[in-house]
């Protein structure tokens, strides 16, 4: 109810330095009747990180985000935003949010919507007067603020949504599928905005089922499917977690498969090419020596870079089959 907190103050509230994570959840659980949307979600996002929450549609990503905004009550576990439960209105002050499909009151004009949200966020009149035209300009809606949202194109509505999300200079921005309905230009603009936010030290939590999106902007990723996190970590680690070597030989027989099988797991055999999953790429030189000593001719030994998509498909596939 208080309007005393100015955005400058909100800026100062940033968890940076205090060691409080921007987002911390432990054992978060949400069930709608017998349907479990989220199982035991535990994660921490540090201030300044760009965190990708990746999963297929219906994996529980939106549910998790809604819990972080106090829109949904968890049935178990705990969620904290800058150390406070998001059900407390004041805890949401440093948070900006772009809802899925960017749905807003269509009867209002863009400028009216920004003004309403600015008031709710505690911005004073002079700040709103300065900030709103500046934001409209920044997201490419200069001169369109007086039009009703109903008349906006999808791209314009998305730009308005982004303006609303960063209106009060938040410390944490939650983006729910920000690009799923957009054309390539729109997607690129969102990516640029996320990079700008990251450069300014703002924490970004991004829900997406689009891998390229996440790969392009995120520092760290959690892959979630059917309400469970199946993998998480820095993007590079995750993509490189299961390394593969591709061997090109003169012939493939039982002996050679047994030999390479001691250094990794044979994933695929195509003609005289063997794909081997290994724990580390460091086995490659030894493997080359052993193969040559055993009398095989080695035409190629190439590390296979696994994309996030491969990891994603493997993990999500495993859960579905299992």
């Amino acid at each position: 109810m208080s309007r005393t907190a100015s955005p400058e103050q909100a800026g100062a509230v940033a968890g940076t330095g205090s060691g409080v994570p921007a987002i911390a959840t432990s054992g978060l659980h949400k069930a709608y009747g017998s349907r479990v949307a989220l199982h035991d979600l535990t994660l921490a996002v540090q201030p300044g990180e760009v965190f990708g929450f990746l999963g297929p549609n219906g994996a529980g990503k939106t549910t998790a985000m809604k819990i972080l905004l106090g829109l949904v009550r968890p049935t178990g576990g705990e969620a904290l935003v800058f150390g406070r439960p998001p059900a407390e209105p004041a805890a949401r002050r440093p948070v900006g949010y772009l809802p899925e499909h960017f749905r807003f009151q269509e009867w209002a004009t863009g400028a009216e919507l920004l003004d309403f949200h600015g008031r709710l966020a505690g911005l004073g009149a002079p700040e709103r007067a300065a900030r709103i035209p500046e934001l409209l300009e920044r997201v490419g809606l200069a001169g369109r603020g007086g039009e009703r949202v109903r008349r906006y194109s999808k791209g314009m509505t998305q730009r308005l949504g982004l303006a609303l999300a960063i209106l009060h200079r938040p410390e944490l921005v939650l983006l729910d599928e920000p690009t799923s309905a957009l054309d390539p230009m729109g997607r690129r603009e969102v990516r640029e905005l996320v990079r700008e936010l990251a450069a300014a030290g703002v924490t970004v939590f991004l829900n997406s089922h689009l891998l390229t999106e996440v790969e392009a902007v995120c520092d760290r990723v959690a892959i979630v499917t059917q309400g469970r996190v199946v993998a998480s970590g820095p993007l590079d680690d995750l993509a490189g977690a299961v390394a593969q070597l591709r061997l090109l030989l003169d012939r493939v027989d039982r002996e050679v498969l047994a030999l390479v099988g001691r250094h990794g797991q044979v994933a695929k055999v195509e003609g005289t090419a063997v794909t081997l999953a290994v724990e580390t790429l460091d086995v490659a030189p030894d493997l080359a020596r052993l193969l040559v000593e055993a009398g095989y001719r080695l035409y190629g030994l190439v590390p296979v870079q696994r994309s996030l998509e491969d990891v994603f498909v493997d993990l999500v596939g495993e859960v579905r089959e299992g």
Binding site: L69, P89, P99, E112, L120
Partner: protein
């Protein structure tokens, strides 16, 4: 205070959706129709009584007859006002929360540092303000017309208007409660059925007063009124429309004629008044409790 920010936004919404304009035009039309109808009918009666005093029994009886005509017209006019206001209150309440949830527009709003209590309070305050203004202007206009044309003086103007406002707030509060727990269409249906039931309860209570009287029916009417005291409050308001001289007039006490079906010659029982005052508060409290638990 964020509740006031929401209230301001709600009034803006009513303006943008042309609700205010449409309401104003229809209201002016209704008042104009009443003014013309009242004026013509009153003049007709005046002329008829002047030409043929035998219709009444002398000057005194003629004046009483004119008063009875005026009273019936005013009660019917105000009945129209309360009916329109009641439907307006139900519609606004039904449309207050659930359509915003369905459209998803509420998510971004409630993600702000805004509590659910503040949101509901803001919605209620704005709609209650609009409806109060509507009832005050409409009933005030009708009473003013009756006064100018026929010199009509109701028993207690403040209570008439106050109770009519209370009735609308009851309907707004109950439909807002429905709007936090039910989908829009289901809530609309439930509210219309409740409203119809309350009206029927009033009719039952009225019929129960026809001599020799029926206690079972009276109790049934009261029970329905407890469920939704809107119609009972209107009847309470209508009692104060009647001029004091009308209430003691022989035609309404001799047992042959117990009054007008849509109005009451009895004041609202104090216990029912207390219940009617507590009712919107209870509805709002329940709405807040339910809305706090609701997942969006």
């Amino acid at each position: 205070m964020n509740a006031l920010v929401v209230a301001r936004w709600t009034v803006l919404e009513a303006r943008r959706r042309r609700l205010l304009l449409a309401g104003a035009i229809l209201s002016v039309a209704f008042v104009a129709l009443f003014a013309v109808g009242f004026f013509l009918l009153y003049q007709d009666q005046q002329r008829a009584l002047a030409e043929n005093p035998a219709v009444g029994a002398g000057v005194l009886a003629a004046r009483e007859e004119l008063l009875a005509i005026s009273t019936i017209l005013v009660v019917l006019g105000l009945y129209g006002v309360q009916f329109l206001a009641a439907l307006l209150g139900l519609f606004l309440g039904v449309a207050s929360v659930s359509p915003e949830i369905d459209s998803g527009a509420l998510h971004a709003v409630l993600a702000r540092p805004l509590s659910r209590l503040e949101y509901l309070l803001g919605r209620f305050l704005a709609l209650a303000g609009l409806l109060t203004a509507y009832v005050v202007v409409m009933s005030g206009s009708l009473l003013l017309i009756a006064r100018v044309v026929a010199g009509y003086q109701p028993g207690d103007v403040t209570r008439v208007v106050g109770l009519m406002v209370l009735q609308v707030l009851i309907l707004l509060a109950v439909s807002l409660l429905g709007s936090t727990v039910l989908p829009t269409l289901a809530n609309g249906v439930v509210m219309l059925v409740l409203f119809g039931l309350a009206w029927l309860g009033g009719i039952i209570a009225f019929v129960a007063t026809i001599p020799p009287g029926n206690e079972l029916m009276a109790n049934l009417g009261t029970a329905v009124s407890l469920l939704l005291p809107a119609d009972a409050v209107w009847r309470g308001a209508s009692y104060h429309v009647l001029p004091p001289s009308f209430l003691v007039a022989s035609s309404f006490t001799n047992g042959d004629n117990v009054g007008i079906p849509f109005a009451s010659t009895q004041p609202l029982a104090p216990a029912m008044l207390a219940w009617a005052l507590a009712y919107p508060v209870a509805c709002l409290s329940l709405a807040v409790a339910a809305f706090r638990r609701r997942d969006l």
